[in-house]
């Protein structure tokens, strides 16, 4: 039997009359709230509140464990104990594993806290367990809550228009936010974007402008008052350079279609699985890099490589970026551990604006080794392209921040 178009529609009508119940749909309160969180006029204030809650809980939780307990545990008990029992004080192995110390009046002096000792067993463990772990746990817990409640798709819809300006679409918020925990899963999550252009832009932006949880944790600990300004500079850079990349990178940036689910009560088992899996992943991928990075930085310091590079590049750092000569070493070491580099910067005397510039430079300077390896896995051409963009961004944006400081009279 062959039906023409009209007959097909008649058949569809008959079937739907028998199977579908028609009636007026009355919006529930949940529906109405769901709509409010998607419409820009009401959705943006809600997004601002959600982000406020996210960072406030993040800061309180991480501060509770790090400042409340881990700082004391590591500085008052672990560091002095290790300094005493580890053999070979002042020798290179002692410097790499426990404490690089310092020289005062010709005598070797031990560090007073784990942020200044730069040993694998002291700074490395303190950063990994005392600073990063609480930050990562609360970050992924909050993220899992937002996902399970059903807020993330709404945030994607809300930010879709803005993200189209940088060649991305609403779903780009997923790798962006994941990268705030760790850049490694963020790079993997770029695969949800459809075109090569989108993936390249996303990977480049997150490698440059998104600080990872380890870095945010340490910033929260050592420069809490300046965090707002540092993040502001990074957000501005994300959009400005994203806009430029969108204009110069060939390729398509298609629209996206998303099914926005209703708000749901989060399930504890779901959240537990998500947080557990992500924290485990972080432990496997990132923690070895923290410790290894710390060891390599220690070796390079002992061999005088970082000192040499720092001295060689000092004119660029002082003249172009407007930061003190001493920051050259930490900025070089940032390739291996950005979090440790921020900790090193905190020990250098400089103005608040120089500190903002230096920490922004650490963030945009180079992806950490783990992210670097992950980007290489996604394709060497993309990696080289991203690094080329990165080099340009570091010099132009670093110089621009210095220029802004000069114009404002604070640099």
């Amino acid at each position: 039997m062959k039906l023409n178009t009209g007959e097909r529609w008649d058949l569809i009508d008959r079937i739907s009359k028998e199977t579908v119940t028609f009636g007026a749909y009355r919006h529930t309160l949940k529906d109405a709230i769901g709509e409010l969180t998607v419409k820009p006029m009401t959705g943006i204030p809600v997004a601002i509140a959600v982000m406020y809650g996210f960072w406030s809980v993040f800061g309180s939780f991480a501060g509770f464990f790090t400042d409340g307990f881990f700082v004391r545990l590591f500085d008052a008990y672990w560091l002095p104990w290790l300094q005493e029992v580890f053999p070979g004080q002042g020798e290179w192995l002692y410097a790499i594993m426990v404490d690089t110390g310092g020289i005062e009046s010709g005598e070797f002096v031990l560090s007073s806290n784990c942020l200044e000792s730069f040993g694998v067993l002291t700074s490395g463990l303190f950063v990994a367990i005392g600073v990063v772990l609480p930050a990562i746990i609360i970050f992924y817990l909050m993220l899992a809550l937002l996902e399970d409640i059903g807020y993330m798709p709404r945030l994607a819809v809300l930010l879709d228009t803005v993200l189209h300006r940088v060649g991305l679409h609403g779903y780009a918020i997923v790798p962006t936010i994941l990268s705030l925990g760790c850049n490694v899963p963020g790079v993997t999550a770029t695969r949800i974007l459809e075109t090569k252009k989108q993936r390249f832009i996303m990977m480049t932006l997150l490698a440059i402008f998104i600080p990872c949880g380890a870095q945010i944790g340490i910033m929260q600990d050592v420069v809490p008052d300046l965090m707002g300004w540092i993040l502001l500079y990074l957000i501005i850079g994300y959009f400005v350079f994203g806009y430029i990349l969108n204009k110069i990178v060939p390729g398509k940036a298609p629209e996206f279609l998303i099914d926005v689910p209703p708000y749901r009560r989060p399930l504890l088992s779901n959240i537990g699985k998500k947080v557990g899996g992500r924290v485990r992943g972080f432990f496997v991928v990132a923690i070895p890099f923290v410790l290894l990075g710390c060891a390599i930085v220690g070796v390079l310091y002992q061999l005088g490589v970082i000192q040499f590079l720092g001295d060689t590049l000092a004119p660029v750092f002082v003249g172009w970026f407007g930061v003190p000569k001493e920051t050259a070493g930490p900025l070089i070491a940032a390739f291996l551990r950005k979090d440790l580099a921020v900790a090193q910067l905190s020990a250098i005397t400089m103005t608040p604006y120089q500190m903002i510039t230096a920490v922004v430079l650490v963030s945009i300077y180079f992806p950490c080794v783990a992210t670097f390896a992950m980007m290489l896995k996604e394709g060497w051409k993309e990696l080289i392209g991203s690094l080329a963009v990165l080099a340009v961004v570091v010099f132009t944006y670093g110089g621009l921040i210095h220029l802004i400081g000069i114009l404002l009279g604070v640099a």
Binding site: L29, D31, F64, A76
Partner: protein, 160 residues
């Protein structure tokens, strides 16, 4: 029912005005770079995060209350009032969570006790409070209206 709705509209109108005023005060105090305290019960933080960012959210909450009170029975309008309360709960919840996390560990440096003493722990919850915390109990009234609306819908058999 209509009288009760009118009562709700008036209540949330007043709450909206107070919330808007608190939001503006938060922003002004933050802009001035100092803290503000009043009567030993109210303290407006002057930092950019709690005062500035939090103040913006309170301001939005106030605007949501005021825009939601017209045609209060309409579900979309009522949703704005509920959303305003949720915004206050977010800010107040964060303030209270910060109080809890700050009250537990000892404030003494180095090798002192790990946990706070009981008097210091209790003192951490004493006033003055931030504006959102003061607004919190008043914003909870919205739960009564949510329940009333839900029971009304069940009664009319139209729970969608």
């Amino acid at each position: 029912m209509a009288e009760q709705s009118a009562g709700g509209a008036i209540y949330f109108a007043i709450l909206g005005i107070v919330t808007t005023a608190f939001g503006l005060a938060d922003l002004l105090v933050t802009a001035s770079g100092s803290e503000f305290a009043y009567g030993g019960i109210l303290e407006i933080p002057g930092d950019i995060f709690r005062g500035g960012w939090g103040g913006i959210i309170l301001l939005f909450a106030g605007i949501f209350y005021l825009s939601g009170i017209r045609n209060f029975d309409d579900i979309h309008q009522f949703a704005k009032v509920v959303m305003a309360s949720i915004l206050i709960w977010v800010v107040a919840g964060c303030d209270i969570f910060a109080m809890i996390t700050e009250s537990i560990p000892s404030s003494s440096e180095e090798t002192g006790p790990w946990f706070n003493t009981l008097p210091d722990f209790i003192a951490a919850y004493a006033p003055p409070y931030a504006p959102a915390v003061l607004l919190l109990p008043f914003s909870l009234v919205v739960i009564y209206y949510i329940r009333k609306r839900a029971s009304g819908e069940e009664g009319s058999g139209n729970s969608s």
